[in-house]
Amino acid sequence: MTDENHPQQNEPVNEYEREPVPEKAWKGPSSFWGMYAGEHTAGTEFMLGPLFIAWGANPIDMLLGLLCGDILAVLTWRFLTAPIATGLRLTLYYKLEKICGRRLVTLYNFANGVLFCFLAGAMVTVSATAVGVPFPGVKMPTFSDMMPTGVAWCVVVLLLGLAQTIVAVKGYSFVARVGHLSAPWMLLVFVACGLTTLPKLQSTDLSRIWTGIALNGGPSLGFWGFVFFAWLCNAAMHLGMADLSILRYARKASAGWASSAGMFLGHYIAWICASLLFALELQLHGRGASNAPGPMVYAATGWAGLACVVIAGWTTANPTIYRAGLAFQGMAPRMSRSTGTYIAGAVATFAGMFPAVAMKLLDFVGIYGTILCPVGAIIVVDYYLARRIGLTSNWAEKTGGSFNVAVLLAWILPLLPFAYLYWYHNVFPSYLTVPVWISCGILYIVFAKVFCRTPATANSIAA
């Protein structure tokens, strides 16, 4: 998973949010390798690895599927996101505003903000499992726990969420700095977790570690499930073009290869190591085993591991709460950023009390990507196809429009069958991300032909 660019408080630095990044600010590829490695080795990895086992991973499907999915993700970053980022050198938000107008961007921001709150909530849950370790009264959640596990759990989550929210409001930059410093160390703690777990396993036979049997007795997540999940868990970032904001600084599109550091270190090594932790728990305690990261990591690596879980959860939750706050502030311009952040923190803390969000993280990540990534298809159409097929590029900028109906319809309509298939037929969300993305692009072409006429085109048709 990801922890995007770190916003800062009171910064005098020009972030080029409403202009193309000038050549003097371009960066070489080395700037991106470390950043991607750090962003994709985060608190979510502690939850996702165990969830693979819960979903019935078998060794071949998991090891090969993740590998293929990670390769596809890297190729998407390199050949789709990076060329547009280095061609436009604009943030996603500014480019969207040029296409669909300020009011519709606000709606996108709101959707983003709400989803960020739930992601931050899952990270508060992860951190709480570590903070609760020294307190035996705190009952750790298991896969079957969807509701709060008790008063003590709620108190830990409440205190942690409150602290994280206050830091997001007042001292965000310190946490961003800690997150940056901890990245190399954190990856090694993941590796250490895997190494220390191996000799404790009752059997190192791969088929007894990743048994291929889902804990809920349902169908297991097969090869294609892993491929699509690994490819699309960051769909909002690559297909959805959120990483335009990062890669617009790249000197060349080849900087997109840097995403391989995040994929193969964070979304391969870290996931596999995290899944080993839960494999041990299952071998020791059977189906009632808890997948709470705190106790598992503490048992494997002691206080260093516990610190890692707290820092990983905290450094993922904090920027997420901060960005959600900004999104809410964008909805109500009279609201201060602090108020927006407090609201986001309160929602995240409340969500964090419910382990359901963290336990359903595989689903949530798929839903998150599928809801947000369609706007990337609109940018692809606008960037590569608009002039060739007679659409008005940057429609809102050229016409002064503030709400592009074509974008709204193209974004929302494919999500309706997605919601139906997910809720009523339990289709794994990551399977639907690409169809939704492609549908959105096609529908945008159709609706833009109908709704997005510039005054000049309208006049020529009338004549």
Binding site: Q8, S173, G179, H180, W185, T196, T301, A304
Partner: protein, 57 residues
């Protein structure tokens, strides 16, 4: 100071992962492994800020 901090950081990272490898090989016990990792962690956060730039400060 900067050079010393770099070497200490490298040593700290080694202390974070090498004891775990030694534990996996059966060379090191559980308690010393965890203690070494904790020392490595403290050392990393003490030394790396001197030379590792980036983040928000």
């Amino acid at each position: 100071m900067n050079i010393l901090a770099r070497y200490l950081s490298l040593f700290a990272l080694a202390l974070t992962v090498v004891p775990a490898a030694l534990f996996a090989l059966g060379v090191l016990g559980d308690a010393p492994m965890k203690l070494a990792m904790l020392v490595g962690t403290v050392l990393w956060f003490a030394a790396s800020p001197y030379w590792l730039k980036g983040g928000s400060e």
